[in-house]
């Protein structure tokens, strides 16, 4: 069973390089070009790690075995490694630094792996499973304790192989860090392509790594403010169909059904699902001023929340009873919170003269928002309990923050070489990555899905 390990060459050059690499701090730029596989994958991901690489956990992710003729239909290990790398918490070894290639069912020779500096090893295998597709399995080992930590087996189709790889990354992340992974989730975003007067807008969905994108809505009219329902299946958004007015729709991504839930005179904007999924908070101006309302989705009953002559918009739910929103009632835009049934809003942000577009972390503890303190529009956070304020990004036009469902990362819109792209930053600001679609369009307004239910 250790046949693979017989090939272990104690390649001291490789090991030395490996050790040196772990000492190189600061800027480590890694470009992962995932080749086209069975499905059209339209994105190129560039991962930039600006800090934190020196205390990331070294992990060996061995190419998975493939027990049939030809090449495996997907490089599962590469997807797992890219996911873990992107989190900033892990530093996967380069493939040339792997001292052996054990596959699922083998037991690693811990002493050899210890020399590579890897604290953990992931090995796995993939095999055809008749008409059912494939079976993918993996095991995670702790090198220092010389123990098996976790093993999983998945039956997958051609279309769900990537999902299995993301679930393996989630399992490894959770087993080692004790925090749920968010690799097997989705992101929604809006893209616009084409010239002025002939644009195509798309509401797109992609895997959390930005690959595997597909449009759930294609339109000649602007689409904005996508918001996930807690079921992970419905998405609310604003669309200007007919160019005459805005309306808010709820679309089921699986069924392709869409319902126009409100289209009053004036602005119909900024929808946000309540955590229980029964209500939408939104911003409407039919009364003459832009105020916050709560719409009961089933009964269509509309309840006012704010009543001011200022701009009140961008409501989000801190919990089922509390909204956080943007208002310029004190001059420039600032964040406020208010009971969802109405009442006196209380101001949350005081730093700088532009704080807007809040996003609340899944545990409700932290608010991310767009902050301009003079250096441009950047993503900042405030801790609701302590009031601690922190600027996380260094762009000049960063916007639309959205928390990952495990609360560890914030996805946002940014600009690179004149085009709208997406970025993600860890909640401590240590890890920054950027993602750009290579379909020629501008990408904006990302929204990270909840965990699938």
């Amino acid at each position: 069973m250790n046949a693979h390990n017989l090939n272990d060459s104690m390649n001291w050059l490789a090991l030395t390089l490996c050790r040196l690499r772990s000492l190189v701090p600061a800027l480590l730029v890694l470009v992962v070009l995932t080749p086209f596989m069975a499905r059209p994958a339209a994105a190129v991901i560039e991962i930039e790690i600006t800090q934190g690489a020196d205390n990331a956990i070294p992990i060996a992710i061995v190419p998975f075995g493939w027990s049939a003729a030809g090449e495996a239909p997907e490089d599962i290990a590469a997807i797992v490694a890219a996911d873990l790398q992107r989190s900033g918490n892990f530093a996967p070894l380069n493939r040339q630094d792997l001292v052996a290639t054990p596959v699922s069912g083998d037991v690693p020779l811990y002493a050899n792996w210890r020399l590579t500096g890897a604290d953990f090893i992931v090995i796995g295998g993939m095999r055809p499973n008749g008409s059912a597709g494939y079976v993918i399995e993996f095991q995670l080992f702790d090198v220092l304790r010389q123990s098996l930590m976790k093993g999983l087996s998945f039956q997958v189709s051609e279309q769900s192989m990537r999902s299995a790889a993301h679930q393996i990354a989630d399992a490894v992340y959770e087993e080692i860090l004790g925090i749920s992974g968010a690799f097997n989730t989705e992101i929604a975003f809006v893209s616009a392509s084409g010239r002025v007067g002939n644009r195509t807008y798309k509401l797109q969905l992609a895997d959390a790594d930005g690959l595997n994108s597909q449009a759930m809505l294609t339109s000649p009219y602007p689409i904005l403010s996508p918001a996930w329902a807690p079921d992970g299946v419905r998405i609310a958004y604003v669309s200007f169909e007919g160019r005459l007015n805005s309306a808010i729709y709820i679309q089921d991504k699986e069924e392709g059904t869409r319902v126009k839930v409100i289209a009053r005179d004036g602005i119909n904007g900024a929808p946000s699902f309540s955590p229980d999924g029964t209500r939408l908070a939104l911003a409407l101006s039919y009364s003459g001023e832009l105020n916050i309302y709560v719409l009961d989705i089933d009964s269509r009953k509309l309840s006012p929340v704010t009543d001011s002559s200022a701009i009140d918009t961008e409501p989000v739910w801190a919990d089922n009873d509390t909204l956080v929103f943007t208002s310029d009632r004190s001059g420039g835009p600032q964040l406020y919170e208010v009971p969802a049934t109405g009442g006196r809003p209380s101001r949350i942000t005081f730093e700088g003269n532009y704080n807007s577009d809040p996003s609340v972390s899944p545990d409700g503890s932290t608010i991310a928002f767009v902050h301009n303190g003079g250096a441009g529009f950047q993503i900042a956070t405030i801790d609701r309990a302590s009031g601690l304020f922190q600027t996380l990004t260094q762009g000049t036009i960063d916007e639309s923050p959205s928390f990952s469902p495990n609360g560890q990362m914030i996805l946002y819109a940014t600009e690179k070489e004149g085009r709208g792209t997406l970025g993600a930053v860890s909640v401590d600001g240590a890890v920054v990555q950027s993602l750009s679609l290579d379909d020629g369009g501008n990408v904006r307004e990302p929204a990270w899905s909840p965990y699938a239910r």
């Binding site: 069973m1 699922s104 069912g105 083998d106 037991v107 399995e137 702790d142 304790r145 010389q146 123990s147 098996l148 976790k150 093993g151 999983l152 087996s153 998945f154 039956q155 769900s160 999902s163 087993e175 002025v196 644009r199 969905l205 597909q214 759930m216 809505l217 294609t218 339109s219 000649p220 009219y221 602007p222 904005l224 669309s239 200007f240 169909e241 007919g242 005459l244 007015n245 679309q251 699986e254 392709g256 004036g266 602005i267 900024a270 911003a283 101006s285 832009l290 918009t313 961008e314 943007t326 835009p333 807007s356 577009d357 529009f377 036009i397 916007e399 639309s400 004149g418 904006r444 307004e445």
Partner: protein, 187 residues
């Protein structure tokens, strides 16, 4: 349930294991089929599905008919604004007044005022700013006797820039209200 039990067993093994248990583990995850089952937690991953939706239509209105209301209305139809401002700049007072006079004399005339912003600031906040700009122009028209039934406003915020560059001159062109005579539009 069996799956759960296996999973838990695996967790227990994982937590108990120390180097001394390595031999046990070697057996547990050896290459024979039976023992591997103990280490693996099987699951079926459903194939993801998305049903795409496509909306048809064209963004732009028809060409102007010179004999129409739109064809005879004042030709300056774009009003520009300062950054983060919804107040009318003094140089545009005369242009708006000209539209006001024309519409007041032409009760059949209908205008749609489209408010736009530059890309700076958040999108929904810019929708609000664009609406404030359109309403500024609407108020000016109404002060000149134009009926409220003749005027409507819509804001696109930063969604429909005329210049997509990211610089001061592009931003200046994008902060605007378009005055659109609606007799050219069927819908």
């Amino acid at each position: 349930m069996q799956t759960m039990n296996r999973h838990k067993l695996l967790d227990v093994i994982g937590k108990l294991s120390a180097p001394g248990f390595a031999v046990v583990l070697l057996a547990a995850c050896g290459s024979s089929g039976d023992t591997r089952d103990t280490a693996l937690d099987p699951g079926v991953i459903p194939t993801p599905s998305v049903t795409p939706v496509t909306i048809d239509g064209a963004l732009d209105g028809q060409a102007l008919d010179p004999g129409s209301i739109s064809g005879q209305a004042p030709v300056e139809r774009v009003i520009y604004f300062d950054y983060d401002e919804a107040e009318l700049r003094s140089e545009y007072l005369a242009i708006v007044a000209e539209h006001g006079r024309y519409l007041a004399q032409t009760p059949a005339g209908r205008v749609r005022l489209e408010g736009h912003t530059d890309e700076r600031g958040t999108r929904e906040y810019n929708i609000a700013l664009g609406e404030a700009r359109a309403k500024t122009v609407a108020r000016m028209l109404q002060l000149q006797g134009v009926s409220s039934a003749q005027v409507r406003t819509v804001s696109y915020g930063e969604e429909l820039p005329v210049d997509e560059a990211h610089n001061i001159s592009a931003w200046a062109k994008n902060r605007r209200v378009n005055i659109i005579y609606e007799d050219a539009i069927q819908n």
